[in-house]
């Protein structure tokens, strides 16, 4: 029998799915760093609510800059970002985003459970304990719940990073290369978590270097190069457009075109 919280989550999911506003809307987004690097130039992108969108591109293409801009971690030069219709820098919009960054950035002074509790607290959760315990169990970290982040293995840190991003039940989860450098078993495990999350109605924006990962998980894939979105379609649509049997061929053709 579903619990009350599960019922509430299901209702929330329905609300998310049927809202008209796109989960993420970027209009003319430009970011020029102080050293003159133009990371994004008049970048437009719209991701519908409930979508699983993959962003593919080489190093330096602008993927992490885009994510940092959405999550208020950098100052954009110009353009507009909206999250479910709200300007991205409002407190409401921020509370709807969950971010798992590419690099492990866990608070070295906090244990696994504290990491989740404090994150929930920053995001306004009045009693984050039960949710923290739920995620500790869901991500198989029970035996490490009182261990500080620096003492965790690489895989455990990666799982904690993902759990932290989900702690406050965000409507839009942004995963920046979540499986970079992890072994096959953990990658499959992370895929399972991410798929389950999407099936519950959460919108997901995923960046990855693994083409099979994008093809396996994403409804739609965007190709980014030199700060511009050069194509977006389903994996089969991209194959048709750029030619090639495999997504690797599509990627090579797109990036060299």
């Amino acid at each position: 029998m579903p619990s009350c919280s599960a019922g509430a989550a299901a209702v929330d999911s329905l609300v998310w799915v049927f809202r008209d506003d796109p989960a993420l809307s970027l209009r003319g987004l430009t970011k020029c760093y102080s050293d003159g690097t133009l990371a994004l130039e008049k970048f437009d992108l719209e991701i519908p609510s409930g979508a699983f969108f993959g962003l593919l591109g080489p190093n330096g293409a602008g993927k992490t800059t885009l994510i940092s801009a959405v999550c208020n971690l950098l100052r954009v030069s110009s353009g507009e970002i909206r999250v479910f219709g709200e300007p991205h820098d409002t407190l409401t919009a921020r509370s709807w985003i969950g971010l798992a960054e590419q690099d492990i950035n866990l608070d070295r002074f906090l244990t696994v459970r504290e990491t989740l509790m404090y994150h929930g607290g920053y995001f306004g959760m009045k009693d984050p304990g039960p949710r923290a315990d739920e995620l500790v169990a869901a991500f198989g970290l029970e035996h490490k719940r009182d261990t500080r982040a620096p003492r965790l293995s690489g895989g455990q840190r990666r799982r904690l990073l993902l759990a932290r991003a989900l702690m406050h039940r965000p409507r839009l989860v942004i995963l920046d290369e979540p499986t970079a450098g992890v072994d096959y078993e953990l990658r499959m495990e992370l895929w399972r978590y991410i798929r389950q999350l999407h099936s519950e109605g959460t919108t997901i924006l995923l960046t990855t270097h693994y083409l099979e990962e994008a093809e396996e998980l994403c409804d739609e894939i965007g190709l980014i190069r030199d700060g511009h979105l050069i194509a977006r379609d389903t994996a089969s649509g991209l194959r048709e457009h750029f030619g090639g049997e495999r997504l690797e061929d599509v990627y090579v053709n797109a990036m060299s075109s």
């Binding site: 760093y33 102080s34 940092s68 999550c71 208020n72 971690l73 950098l74 100052r75 407190l91 409401t92 921020r94 509370s95 985003i97 971010l99 960054e101 690099d103 950035n105 866990l106 608070d107 070295r108 002074f109 906090l110 504290e114 404090y118 994150h119 929930g120 607290g121 920053y122 995001f123 306004g124 959760m125 009045k126 932290r164």
Partner: protein
């Protein structure tokens, strides 16, 4: 306000988890100053400002211990959070800038009060220091801690290496405290050193705290409080401006 409460808890938790480093070590260091300077030299030095020397130096040493701790705590906490990038967890959260600035300031104040409280207790036991003007003492400590905690936040945000954070402590705060009348009354200084001491902001803080303990100081308590407040307000505003604009925190 939930986010602010959790950020304050995080900053105080860090101090508590590292208590031997953050509280015990500075308390031992300051109490050694009181015992070594006060009890060994106290018998050889006449009364200063009508109190025994070992009592006279206590307010200045407590001030020095507290402001150094308030500064160092926040500078290191923010710099570490930037260096390891876990500050992103706070910067991306739905927290208004004023709450982030206040939350990061609280850690330094908590640590300084823990040190100051411990030193006060030990000083009462060892040298019988009085507290003649408690309200003046509270006002002076509050303003001084806001000033140096906020300074720690600002330096922690601007610092590019650990050396930058320790530079301010070792090259600015410590020397200013030493020449700010911690160990002597500036009345004994020859001209122009006595006059120059009036340009040292730490001198006013030491005197305000000393007035709170002993009921007397080299300059008016109101002037001392006004000078410390005149510095605390803009430095705190500076720290909040950094969080509001994201300057030095966001590319």
């Amino acid at each position: 306000m939930t986010g602010l409460v959790w950020l304050c808890r995080r900053e105080t938790l860090r101090v508590s988890k590292l208590w031997t480093q953050t509280i015990l070590a500075p308390v031992i260091s300051s109490i050694l100053f009181i015992l070594v300077f006060g009890l060994s030299l106290g018998g050889r030095i006449d009364q200063v400002s009508s109190v025994d020397y070992e009592v006279f130096i206590v307010p200045g040493l407590i001030t020095m211990g507290m402001v150094q701790a308030a500064y160092a705590n926040n500078a290191s906490s923010i710099f570490q959070a930037r260096f390891d990038r876990y500050i992103h967890d706070v910067l991306s959260a739905p927290l208004p800038a004023w709450q982030v600035a206040l939350g990061f300031t609280v850690g330094g104040i908590f640590r300084a009060l823990a040190i100051g409280g411990s030193l006060l207790l030990l000083s009462v036991i060892f040298v019988g220091v009085p507290v003649e003007q408690p309200f003046a003492l509270i006002a002076a400590v509050a303003l001084g801690l806001v000033l140096f905690s906020a300074l720690g936040v600002v330096v922690g945000i601007y610092a590019e290496t650990w050396d930058h954070t320790t530079f301010i402590s070792n090259i600015v705060i410590l020397p200013l405290a030493f020449v700010g009348g911690v160990f002597y009354s500036i009345e004994v200084l020859p001209s122009p050193w006595e006059e120059l001491s009036h340009f040292n902001p730490v001198f006013y803080l030491v005197n305000a705290v000393r007035f709170g303990f002993l009921g007397e100081s080299d300059v008016s308590i109101w002037l001392s409080l006004a000078v410390v407040a005149a510095l605390a307000v803009p430095v705190y505003a500076w720290s909040q401006w950094l969080f509001t604009t994201g300057r030095r925190l966001k590319d």
